[in-house]
């Protein structure tokens, strides 16, 4: 019986990756903070697109990510397929299930990260914790640095359980994005934001169709509460699917995260072209946000 997953990355590779990471954190700081800061300097919110690797197949999913970037996404969340995506709704489950069954894994994810970086956007991995732990936390961090990734968003890893990830990201200079929720206490908001680097992911209650006004209020309140305890950027996802909705969220958040709408375009068979068109609409949306009165 094997023990905890071991990092089997070579020592010298790890050392050089770690030097590179440390150098990056010295020279450039957080890649996500930089791109979000640049958007802010342009007077707009950043557009963050989520797409899972491996739907409908690895190559098409990578082409879709590149198309999202061409359409105007600043950041791509490169989704790691997982068999038990407890936080995902039916749209993403459906796509991810295909990728899981096809055996898509971390090497494919790293290839997608490279492609997004080459397309000129900032890639950040989005993964439930077990695939990272299974791959080896340090090995993942080193390979992600080598592929040009900014860091990772970990939806089921709270800072309380993240000792190994905190250490690996300190060593490599990678960003680490944790989530906050409307139910988070002030103390947890502060601790979670303090543990985050790059941005804080404000996950606000979805509700069902037709409750968007309420949800939007909750998200705005959550952003305000997070900002009151942290200087880190706060990005929000709300099931945004149109340019108008993106504009609405962009009025109070540093970044607008869109997932299901992109995945729906792929599920509908619109392919990378459909993703590009959606990205263009959303990118226009984050640029016409007015500051709320």
């Amino acid at each position: 019986m094997s023990g905890a997953p071991e990092d089997d990355g070579g020592v010298s590779i790890a050392a050089s990756a770690s030097e590179r990471g440390a150098e990056r954190s010295r020279s450039r700081g957080s890649a996500l903070a930089a791109v979000i800061g640049k958007a802010r300097a342009d007077g707009r919110a950043a557009l963050i697109a989520y797409l899972p690797v491996g739907y409908p197949d690895v190559d098409t999913s990578i082409a879709a990510m590149v198309a999202a970037v061409e359409g105007g996404a600043d950041v791509v969340e490169v989704g790691v397929p997982y068999s038990d995506p407890g936080m995902d709704g039916p749209v993403i489950q459906e796509a991810v299930d295909v990728a899981v069954r096809a055996g898509v894994g971390m090497p494919d994810v790293l290839r997608a990260v490279e492609a997004v970086a080459a397309a000129g956007a900032v890639p950040v991995v989005m993964s439930y914790w077990n695939p990272i732990e299974r791959y080896g936390v340090d090995r993942f961090a080193d390979d992600l640095v080598a592929a040009g990734g900014a860091g990772a968003i970990t939806p089921d890893l709270i800072p309380d359980e993240a000792a190994a990830w905190l250490a690996a990201t300190e060593r490599t200079g990678l960003d680490r994005v944790f989530l906050v929720a409307p139910s988070s206490t002030d103390a947890r908001l502060a601790a979670t934001a303090a543990a985050s680097r790059g941005f804080v992911y404000a996950a606000s209650t979805m509700g069902v169709t037709g409750t968007r006004a309420t949800v939007s209020d909750a998200a705005e309140r959550l952003v305000a509460r997070t900002r009151s305890v942290s200087g880190t950027a706060v990005c929000v996802g709300l099931g945004v699917s149109s340019g108008d909705q993106a504009a609405e969220v962009a009025a109070f958040a540093d970044g607008v995260i869109v997932g299901s709408a992109y995945v729906r375009a792929l599920l509908a068979g619109e392919g990378p072209d459909g993703v590009r068109v959606l990205s263009e609409e959303l990118a226009a949306g984050v640029r016409r946000a007015r500051v709320r009165t």
Partner: protein, 464 residues
């Protein structure tokens, strides 16, 4: 009763004293903890705090004891099964009769506690996952008793294997939602229940069915189930004047096993043996023997052993027993395994069914197929230890729900039920249809999330 002929009884430990694990944040060594979306942390904190207050509240202690006695029928008896024991190498075998509890298994012990907790925190709706349906039936029962609205998530595959329990839950007023995602079994029902919880956490409490999941569930469910071992230890001491040599229990998520083990953990001379579902055999890859055939990782909110592939994807488990057909296991078992306090062995479908038939014919007791795994373990361990050894087996449930599966296995009559093989289900002409329990007109309870419109609250998926 042979009290005085034996050595004096060892000291009885304080039954309310808990093991020194988990720590304050729910860790059993490196296992356990909370690997959950932040949106659930507040609810888990609320549960932990309310539970810690409740467990020492004399009013709760009295109410829980009253329900266990008057409603469940506790204490459950210990039965010596001499004719069955002839097949166990001459060892003496005692059964702890959780099958005689109201609703037919140990699951009721836990749900009564969690239902009282639900009322205490002012929530009006409970949700539960279920595999064999026993936990779902128990939860539906407690909800009916306490006037709570109840939704049960059950893998579609399991609604076929356990159609009788689906009907029971519906008779009890619960809504049963067949889960069609993933492998359509218990693990997917748990995912769906978590999605419901995260969406409806203000009104809803998640009554988790076993000693897995995020803190506080493993510790809380253990506390509610430990009555099994607390009673049994006293009962065995009283009738035998000594402790058993070995305590055996089947392990799905691990609640009946932790329930009977906990009282004996401090008794260094008592071997604790957990029997995992070996399915077609561990070497075939078609099994649910998580500790024997898996390795450490994170699933359903906690670190423990699990069945996973090289990408960290959960591997679908296989067992003739729906209640053991789970690719994870509670973190305390992972810990007891690693520190060497308990041992875990696989039992194949065939071995379990042999023991199942044997108990029926030698003792007139139809066991749950889950529990039959523990009986099969006793047949092996008894032969290893020989005469004079004393085995205590947790008979976690009765087999009424399994009559169709057993009939199909043994080729009896016209009843054939599928195990976990869809083709066979369709051929058998049963199981292809969900069965009479699944009437389409049923109204969902308020706030229910059906599987085609499940929307996680802070839905990383929608937003990600």
């Amino acid at each position: 009763m042979t009290l005085s002929a034996h050595a004096p009884a060892p000291d009885v430990p304080d039954a309310t004293a808990r093991p020194e694990w988990p720590d304050a944040t729910g860790h059993f060594g490196v296992y356990g903890g909370r690997f959950v979306p932040e949106a659930l942390v507040a609810a888990l904190d609320e549960l932990t705090e309310a539970y810690e207050a409740m467990r020492v509240d004399p009013e709760f202690v009295a109410e829980f004891a009253r329900l266990q006695r008057d409603y469940t029928g506790r204490p459950s008896p210990v039965t010596e099964v001499a004719r069955f024991a002839e097949h166990c190498g001459g060892a003496r075998v005692l059964l702890k009769r959780e099958d005689l509890n109201h609703t037919g298994s140990h699951k009721i012990n836990n749900v009564l506690g969690q239902a009282l907790l639900t009322k205490r925190i002012g929530k009006t709706r409970v949700i539960a996952e279920t595999g064999a349906g026993q936990h779902g039936v128990a939860t539906a029962t407690a909800a009916a008793l306490m006037g709570l609205s109840c939704t049960v998530y059950m893998g579609e595959e399991d609604t076929r294997r356990q159609a009788l329990n689906v009907a029971r839950m519906r008779l009890l007023g619960a809504e049963v939602i067949p889960v069609t995602t993933g492998s359509r079994t218990l693990k997917d029902a748990i995912n769906e229940a978590f999605r419901d919880w995260v969406t409806n956490v203000e009104t809803t409490n998640y009554v988790f069915g076993t000693v897995a999941g995020p803190h506080p569930f493993p510790a809380m469910v253990r506390d509610f189930q430990r009555v099994i071992g607390d009673e049994a230890r006293e009962q065995v001491l009283e009738r035998e004047g000594r402790l058993p040599d070995v305590v055996l229990a089947c392990v799905g998520g691990g609640s009946n096993a932790i329930g009977i083990f906990t009282a004996f953990v401090p008794d260094a001379g008592v071997r604790l043996v957990g029997l995992e579902a070996g399915g077609d055999g561990v070497d075939t890859g078609r099994h649910a023997a998580t500790i024997t055939g898996g390795d450490p990782g994170v699933l359903h909110g906690a670190r423990s052993y699990l069945l996973q592939d090289d990408n960290g994807q959960t591997i679908e488990s296989h067992s003739i027993s729906a209640g053991l057909d789970y690719p994870g296991v509670g973190p305390e078992h992972a810990f007891l395994h690693d520190i060497g306090r308990a041992e875990y062995r696989p039992v194949t479908d065939a071995e379990a069914m042999e023991a199942f038939a044997l108990l029926c014919r030698t003792e007139g007791i139809i066991p749950a197929i889950e529990s039959a795994h523990a009986l099969a373990g006793a047949m092996v361990v008894g032969r290893e230890l020989g005469p004079d050894s004393l085995l205590l087996v947790n008979l976690s449930g009765r087999g009424d729900k399994d009559v169709e599966t057993a009939s199909a296995w043994f080729g009896l009559g016209e009843h054939t039920a599928p195990t976990d093989d869809d083709e066979r289900a369709v051929e058998a002409g049963r199981g292809a249809e969900p069965g009479p329990g699944l009437d389409e007109d049923q109204q969902p309870t308020e706030g229910a999330v059906t599987n085609d419109e499940a929307v996680a609250g802070p839905d990383a998926g929608e937003q990600a």
